[in-house]
Structure formats: C-alpha cells, structure tokens
Subunit: 399 residues, 2 copies
C-alpha cells in the first residue's frame, strides 16, 4: 500500500519529541528528560529536550504545514524542512564551526534534530540589548565566503554544482522573498504595515520610477542568478552568538542565488540595529559592516587563489570583477531589506522596539532614506567605508 508523505505527517507533541530522542539514542538510557516547546509558533515547532541530570540538550525543529502571519495562516510547503537540513549539512562540510550539528532528519515528518545552542543568544536580541559581539562579523564574513566559494562554479566541480542546485530548487520560500523583500513594499499592497506618520515617505517610494527600475533589476538577479548555495535569510535573527562563538541557523530559504544576497541581508540588519541605537553606540555596528566585507573578500580571495577549479581562475581582473559585482549587488539587496523591514509585512524588533514614538518614526524615516540611497547609489560606492557615509547622511537629510 502506498502511503503518501502528507498522510504520515503529524505535529509532534512534547512527549513525542522525548520519545524520538530516546529512539535515536541521543541520551543515556533512563536519563531524566524534560521537553519544552520554545518556537514562536509562526512557522515551526521547536522542541528543547534536556537531560536534567547532565544539563545536555538537543533541539527538534518541525515545520508546520502553514505560516501564521498577522493573524492569518497560509499553507506552506513542508519540503522546507528537507531544504533546511540539507543546507545545514552542506554548510557543515565547509564551515562546521558556524552551523549546528544535525543529528537526524525525517522528510515525511518535516523534522530536523540538531545541536542545542541554548548557551548562545539570538544575535538580534543581544544587539538590541546593546551587546556588540566582537567576533560576529569575522565569523559571518568567513561563513559567507566559504559557503559561497565552495558551492560556486569556482570552488566545486561545475557538473556537481548543477546537481546540487537541482536539490535546492525552492519555489515557495523564494516566493516569500520575491514578494515581501522585492515587490510588496514598493507598491501599495495590503501586506505592508507602517505608521501613518510614514505615509508621505512611503508614498514617495511607491511613486519613484527610478527606484522601481533599480529594485526590479535586483529582483531579476534574485530570480535568475544561480551563483552559489545561499542561506537566503541571513538576518541577525538567524544567528546565534556569544562573544566567542557564532552559529548560523534556519536556512530554510536556501537555494542557488546571487553571491551578494546573504551579505546584503546581513549588512541591512546590522544597519537597522545601528539606526535603533543612540549615536555613540552605533560605531560597533558600522565597524561590523566593514569587517564583514573585509573578511569576506580576504577569505574568498584566498580560496580563489588556492582552490579554484575554473580554468580562467588566474585571468587578471576576473576575481576583481566577481568581487565588485558582489559588492554592488550586496549594497542593493541591503537597501531592499532595510526598506522592507521598515514598512513591509515582517518588521524587526530593533526598530519596532523603540518605545518613544517620535524617535521610532525618526529612525524609520532614516531607514527608508538609507534603503533608497543604498539601492540608487550602489554602483557609485567605491568601497565599504562609503556605506558609513550614506548612513551618517541620513542624520542631516531627515529632520
């Protein structure tokens, strides 16, 4: 009898989560296990199973067959759990130090069992609390450089790369990004969500043909350019961190996309946090942006020199051309992310959490201005330091 995958699926309970860890032999026999569901319930269940005797834990993440956003729910493919566990395993083969260890995955239950990272904190949360995570940009720059290089036509057999890209075709999750990052915020669509005080600024974006043209070009890159296996959602909420450790999680949006996308999203979320901070505390974020790019280019260039499989690798100017295009695209993608996190469906707590309304509106107006300038000026920026100038400009332009 054929059983369809859909029919096997059922949401796990806390007891079911414990039973699974026992079946998998992840804890010593008879260990006193407790379990708590700690997900936000929007997209996934997240179970934290802990051995009370040793304090050791594991995480079981289960995709839900729908997404709950602003009260509504829409159906969402369970295949994203397979994408997530496969992406974590692929990343682990290049940067095991920056991703959680995957112990087990089950496609029909949409489950990934993985390393417990509860000794770390979600970077966005820590940054909002004023932490600076001195190694964050070094680690993320290295994570991005290695995952991009080794899964690209420069670091991987070009035939194998095509087969890998086939495994990561991810239409439904890509659509979320295509809509929420690249489209909805730039039109008067229902998904948008912003304070009335921003309406003038928002309408200016909606009516800006020049901006639309540039966003459309960036969207086209996202739709068509398969440079490497990208994380696809690398904001500060997808990163666990401490002062010494960094772990990237939640790659359910992973697919073969453009080199610049992950860098751009990370830049944007650093800048959004900077916008939420008092001026004297912004510096570490701006420095993180610069260091991310610096580390990325160093590591990527080093891998290029030592491990490039492309016969044109040594052609003078090629690496520079790839890095330049990546930089320009990253700035543009960052601009889209800054704007959508300010007026689109999914906001960031960095800005929304500013309690004083005037300050919040001011920060958001600056965000919109910054986002627009990142998009429009990406081709004239010569190096990453100039992002700082664009950031500071928003102080003087927005009143």
């Amino acid at each position: 009898m054929a059983i369809s995958k859909q029919s096997v699926y059922e949401p796990l309970t806390e007891n079911g989560a414990i039973s699974l860890t026992v079946r998998l032999g992840l804890f010593p026999e008879g260990a006193p296990l407790t379990c708590r569901e700690i997900g936000d319930g929007n997209l996934n269940l997240v179970f934290h199973v802990v051995d009370q005797q040793t304090g050791k834990g594991v995480i079981i993440k289960q995709a839900l067959p729908y997404a709950k956003v602003v009260g509504e729910s829409w159906p969402l493919t369970l295949k994203r759990a397979v994408i997530e566990s496969n992406a974590l395993r692929t990343f682990a083969s290049y940067v095991p130090e920056y991703v959680p260890n995957v112990y087990y995955s089950d496609e029909s239950l949409a489950i990934t069992v993985m390393e417990d990272l509860s000794h770390l904190q979600i970077a966005r949360k820590g940054l909002i609390e004023g932490k600076t995570y001195p190694l964050l940009s070094k680690h993320i720059g290295e994570f991005i450089a290695k995952t991009l290089f080794y899964t690209s036509d420069f670091g991987m057999n070009q035939q194998q790369k095509k087969q890998l890209s086939q495994q990561f075709v991810n239409p439904e999750l890509c659509k979320i990004t295509e809509d929420l990052v690249f489209t909805d915020p730039f039109f008067d669509y229902e998904t948008n969500n912003f304070e009335q005080e921003l309406r003038n600024d928002v309408e200016a974006l909606w009516n800006d043909d020049t901006l639309h043209l540039e966003v459309a070009k960036l969207k086209r890159k996202f739709l068509t350019e398969g440079d490497a296996l990208i994380h696809g959602d690398l904001h500060t909420g997808s990163i666990f961190a401490s002062d010494t450790e960094t772990k990237v999680i939640d790659p359910e949006f992973a697919f073969y996309g453009p080199f610049g996308f992950d860098i751009g999203q990370f830049f944007a979320n650093l800048l959004l946090n900077a916008l939420s901070r008092p001026e004297p505390q912004q510096e570490p974020l701006l420095a993180h942006v610069e260091q991310t790019w610096g580390v990325f280019t160093n590591v990527f260039s080093d891998l290029w020199d030592r491990h490039n499989v492309e016969p044109y690798a040594k052609t003078p100017g090629l690496l520079q051309d790839v890095l330049r295009q990546t930089f320009v695209d990253a700035i543009g993608f960052a601009g889209c992310e800054v704007i959508r996190r300010t007026i689109g469906l999914a906001h960031v707590a960095d800005l929304d959490g500013i309690e004083d309304k005037n300050k919040r509106i001011y920060a958001k107006r600056r965000a919109l201005h910054l986002g627009k300038n990142l998009i429009l000026q990406r081709r004239v920026l010569n190096d990453v330091q100039e992002i700082r100038a664009l950031f500071l400009q928003t102080f003087t332009t927005i009143h």
Copy 2:
C-alpha cells in the same frame, strides 16, 4: 523485479524501428514500410520510416550512449533524449509552427518519434549552396522571442518556472559547451584543431588577457544565469528550412540559460556563412542578422506589453534594460561561437568547405578577428547594424 533503465536500453535496428511505428499505430495497417538509418552516427541513430504507398514518413531518433568525435568515443548521458523530447514539447506549446511534432518518446530507450521534415533542408547545407531562405530570420527571431519570453520570469508563473528549470538541469551537455565554446579554443588545449597557417593568430588569442577576461565573464553568465529555457545549440545545422518554412530541431543541449545565448549562436553561424561567400552574396546573411534582432525585439516587446506576469513589467526602462543586456550578451556569445567554430573541436562546413586553401585561411583569419572584436566591443555597439561594420572591418584589417 526492478529493472534498471540502463539494462533496457539497446540500439534500435531498422526492423525494430519499423515495428515501433506499427506498434504506435503511426501508419495504416499493412502499409508497405521501408526504413533507412540516416544519422551521421556521431551522437544519435536517426531512422527514417516511410510508407511507400503514401510517401508519408516519420523520424525515430535514438541517443547513443557515447559520442564519436575525431575518431574517439566518450560516454554521454542518454538523458539527453528526455531533455530533447521535453524541450520540443515545451517549445511546441508556444511555437508549434517552428518545431517538429513529437508523437512519442521513451526514456529508457532514449527514443523520440517525431514528424518527418525531409521536405526541408538543413539550413547550413542550403546556405552553403548559396540559398538565402528569405523567411529564416523572421521565423527564428519569432521562435527565440516566444520561447524565451514564455519560459522566463516575465512570461511564466515564477514558481512554475523554477520547477521547469529543475527538469532541464543538463550538466553533461552544458559541459560540452562550457569546454568547447568557452574554454578550450582560448587555451593551448588538445581538442583544438586548426591549420598551421593560423598558428600566429591562434597564439595571439591564447595570450590575450583582455580577451580571456571577457570570455570568462561570458562563460560565467552561461554557468549561472537562468533566464529562460534556451535551445542551447541553435546553429544553422539545427534548423530545417525552405523558402517558406522553418523548423528548429535537436534541442538536446536545452537548459535554463541566459537570454542572449541562442541569438548569439544563430548570429555567429550566419556570419560564418557570410565569411565563406563571395562579397556580393554576403548581403542576405548580414540582413538576416539584423532582421533576427529586429523581429526578436518586436515580438518580445509585444509579449512583454500584453502578457507580462511580473509586477514591475510597466516600470519605465526595465524592458529596455533587459533587451540591452540580451543584445550585449548575444554579441559576446556570437564572438565565442565564431572563434570556436574556426579553431576548436567542432568546425563548420561553411569555412572548412572552402576549397582554395588561401581563401580558406583568409576567411578563417577574418573569422578570428571578427570573433575577437564581437567579444571585446560588445558593450560599445549601439545597435545591430554595427555588427555589419565589424564584419566589413575584417576585410581591411586582415590581409
């Protein structure tokens, strides 16, 4: 019992071909059928089954599990037969008038049974005989415009497009193009094949870093940009033609690639034929290049206006940007094709068939010069008429 696909495969005989058409009911019962194998035997068997009473025929094409080139044979995936029949069917849903009708396909036997086009002639052959095929560029311009538009993110639901692209992942056939078009001719590789009289010109290409950089950028586009389902091998040998009809065949190289590739290969093969002709007879070929681009842009723009599914479709400047990038890329791809068809592994009869050795060498030197200029000057060409100028320039530059 599980039977692997590999074990079912065996090359068809002429009698087997006849039996298959009978089993498929393609001819009336008892029809007097004859069969002849008419392929060149390099990559495929091609059987022509004819009903001697009515004169009607069908074609059965079967992929061989190897390629014979310059005496050697290398293994080659049978999956290309599936790619070919799927591509023909996909194209037929947009431009049935420009592809043979597919009656049947069998994945395990690597067989496609299709419309007999023997009332037409392979365009390359006719062009070499001096024919001009007045409608060739109108038809091919329309074929390219419609197949590209409707399989791209502008003409097709963007999620469906991703699923379609997944079906056409085609690593082995792409590798042939990556090697033979974009790589080998530009390095001192064994696959190259040219007269000693060309050695100086060829070595100049091998040592030209500027050219290498531009070819590397074009190769990267071929490796990473998935704009639309392209034919992937659209030279004049993949086209059947008469004065009134045009049919595109052999899309076994089909995959999701850049918009400009098919146009570029078609341009190149028109130009190669022009190079082989006495000066007064070159005009129809140059006119074909111009008309191909003219028809392509008209049809594509019209579809864009009427059937675009992308929310940014009406953004001023977007269509122009897409067309401009397509044009620049097409010119560059054309340059690579002109060069590889002159000194690479797979030549064209247009040039190799020039009997007078001095004339042949002269035409080939002009081809190399033209190819290089197409690549290096693609970004400064403003419109398609300027290709003619580059073509004519080779008369005065090469002596």
